[in-house]
């Protein structure tokens, strides 16, 4: 992987309110969840133990909400570019991302729209995230300061 920052991101002046951002799909496998358990310190069994997940009424192992939010964060920072900074980022977790043990896992599909241009080079994005046809994040919004 290159250490070079090859993409400068979007400029504030080029952004138009109402513009739709391209949809991006992110994978969530059992391995992703195990890695996220270790990196985050959140070892809640519902994220890695199918037997216990099912015993508490879940369809299967589910992704950490924060893993899903992190994918929406990737979406925002990849769009905004390396020089941009995230000023605000908030989501509501509306449904779990169910991750089956089938060597494929789940897919999280993120879309975004420019909701508002604010002062100081800030832009508000409205985001959506779906998995298996279900909305997994709602009221998802990020404010980024562009260059």
């Amino acid at each position: 992987m290159s250490d070079q920052v090859s993409y400068d991101g979007v400029s504030y002046d080029s952004v138009e309110v109402g513009a739709e951002l391209a949809e991006v799909s992110y994978p969530a496998s059992r391995l992703s969840l195990v890695m996220y358990c270790g990196a985050s310190g959140d070892f809640n069994v519902i994220h890695w133990n199918e037997r216990i997940a099912k015993s508490v009424g879940l369809p299967d192992v589910i992704a950490h909400g924060m893993f899903t939010m992190a994918q929406a964060g990737r979406y925002v920072t990849d769009w905004a570019g390396p020089k941009a900074t995230v000023v605000e980022f908030g989501v509501r977790f509306s449904a779990p991302v169910v991750v089956p043990d089938d060597d494929v896992g789940a897919t999280i599909i993120v879309t975004g729209k420019v909701e508002e241009k604010l002062d100081d080079n800030k832009v508000a994005l409205a985001l959506t995230a779906k998995s298996a046809g279900t909305k997994v994040l709602s009221r998802a919004r990020a404010v980024v300061r562009l260059v």
Binding site: M1, S2, D3, Q4, V5, Y26, P27, S32, M35, Y36, G38, A39, S40, G41, D42, V56, H64, G65, M66, F67, M69, A70, Q71, G73, R74, V76, T77, D78, P82, K83, T85, V86, V87, E88, F89, G90, V91, R92, F93, R139, A142
Partner: protein
């Protein structure tokens, strides 16, 4: 029994200083599948205008949970952790966390409310450098499902 409403407004002691390290940021970026060089390469981060490798936006949860987790474990709060799901999460950043930062986190229970059979509790956690500079405020809403 619901979450003890007398805990609204209670502030818990700040955590011990936490040092943000390049290795931890890389581990976290790997876990969320984010290959952005500004999370991995000091040169790339500096090219983008940061003093060192920065943290992905949701990394702040690792630090805030170290603080809010202590609040949740207070037996007087009467939170049934087995019945808890993450309802909402929001971050407000003054700047990104940067490798080398030494920060503490301090949590306050900002609201507790019942909605039908659910109890919802929001904690607000301030992440500041040991010199007092504000970096991030994290608002986490947990939902306790009724038994």
């Amino acid at each position: 029994m619901a979450i003890n409403p007398q805990y609204v407004g209670k502030t818990f002691p700040a955590t011990e200083p936490y040092q943000v390290s390049r290795e931890k940021l890389r581990e976290f970026a790997d876990a969320i599948g984010d290959t952005n060089p500004v999370y991995r390469s000091r040169a790339a981060a500096q090219e983008a205008g940061f003093p060192d490798v920065i943290a992905p936006p949701t990394f702040a949860i690792v630090i805030s949970v170290a603080s809010s987790g202590k609040a949740l474990a207070d037996p007087g709060l009467n939170l049934n952790y087995a019945m808890v799901v993450h309802g909402e999460q929001r971050f407000e950043y003054s700047r990104p966390l940067v490798a080398g930062d030494v920060v503490t986190a301090q949590s306050t229970i900002s609201s507790i409310r019942d909605v039908g059979s659910l109890s919802m509790m929001t904690t607000t956690t301030e992440i500041r450098t040991v010199d007092g500079e504000h970096v991030c405020t994290a608002h986490s809403t947990l939902v306790e499902r009724g038994a």
